[in-house]
């Protein structure tokens, strides 16, 4: 709940800045109109970059997988000896 308040405050501040720029027309109007689209584009680029970096550094632990498979085999063996049906394979 607090996160959304933070995001809302940020959005309101950015739009206030933008409206101020639009009113005072320090820079030409056609360029001020481009800024929100620029913001959206940069947000999309940031999201894509984060996904790409997450995919690149995706943590895999093959040794842990091996240990887990050993554990599973051991448990299946144990259960089969006790007469519990654990299915084929």
């Amino acid at each position: 709940m607090k996160h959304i308040v933070k995001i809302m405050v940020l959005l309101v501040a950015i739009s206030a800045c933008w409206i101020g720029l639009l009113q005072t027309s320090i820079i030409p109007r056609s360029h001020t109109w481009l800024l929100p689209i620029y913001l959206i584009i940069s947000l999309g680029c940031y999201g894509l970059l984060m996904v790409g970096v997450g995919l690149m550094n995706f943590p895999t632990c093959p040794q842990e997988a091996l240990l887990l498979h050993q554990d599973i085999d051991e448990a299946k063996e144990f259960l089969k000896r006790r007469g519990v049906d654990v299915g084929s394979d």
Binding site: L34, I40, I41, C45, L48, G52, G54, L55, M56, F58
Partner: protein, 80 residues
């Protein structure tokens, strides 16, 4: 499998960084460059800076809607 994921991640990062750089150049820096400078050859006119993202967004939204509808249809058929 892992290498393919890494390649896809690298490609995504590259695409996002290059798009961001190009768009920043186009929107922020280009208005301050003289209009007869040679750099202007490599960029479309200023109004395309609005048109292209809006079209891309509309296309993305349409694709998302079609995808969601397709998935809903499929799940309904499976349930019946």
């Amino acid at each position: 499998m892992e290498l393919a994921d890494r390649a896809v991640g690298f490609l995504l990062s590259l695409i996002s960084i290059s798009t961001f750089t190009y768009y920043t150049f186009w929107v922020i820096i280009l208005p301050f460059v003289d209009s007869d400078h040679f750099v202007h050859q490599y960029f479309l006119p200023q109004e395309y800076a609005i048109l292209v993202p809006v079209f891309a967004g509309v296309a993305l939204l349409c694709f998302l809607c079609v995808f969601v509808g397709f998935v809903m249809l499929k799940s309904k058929k499976k349930k019946a």
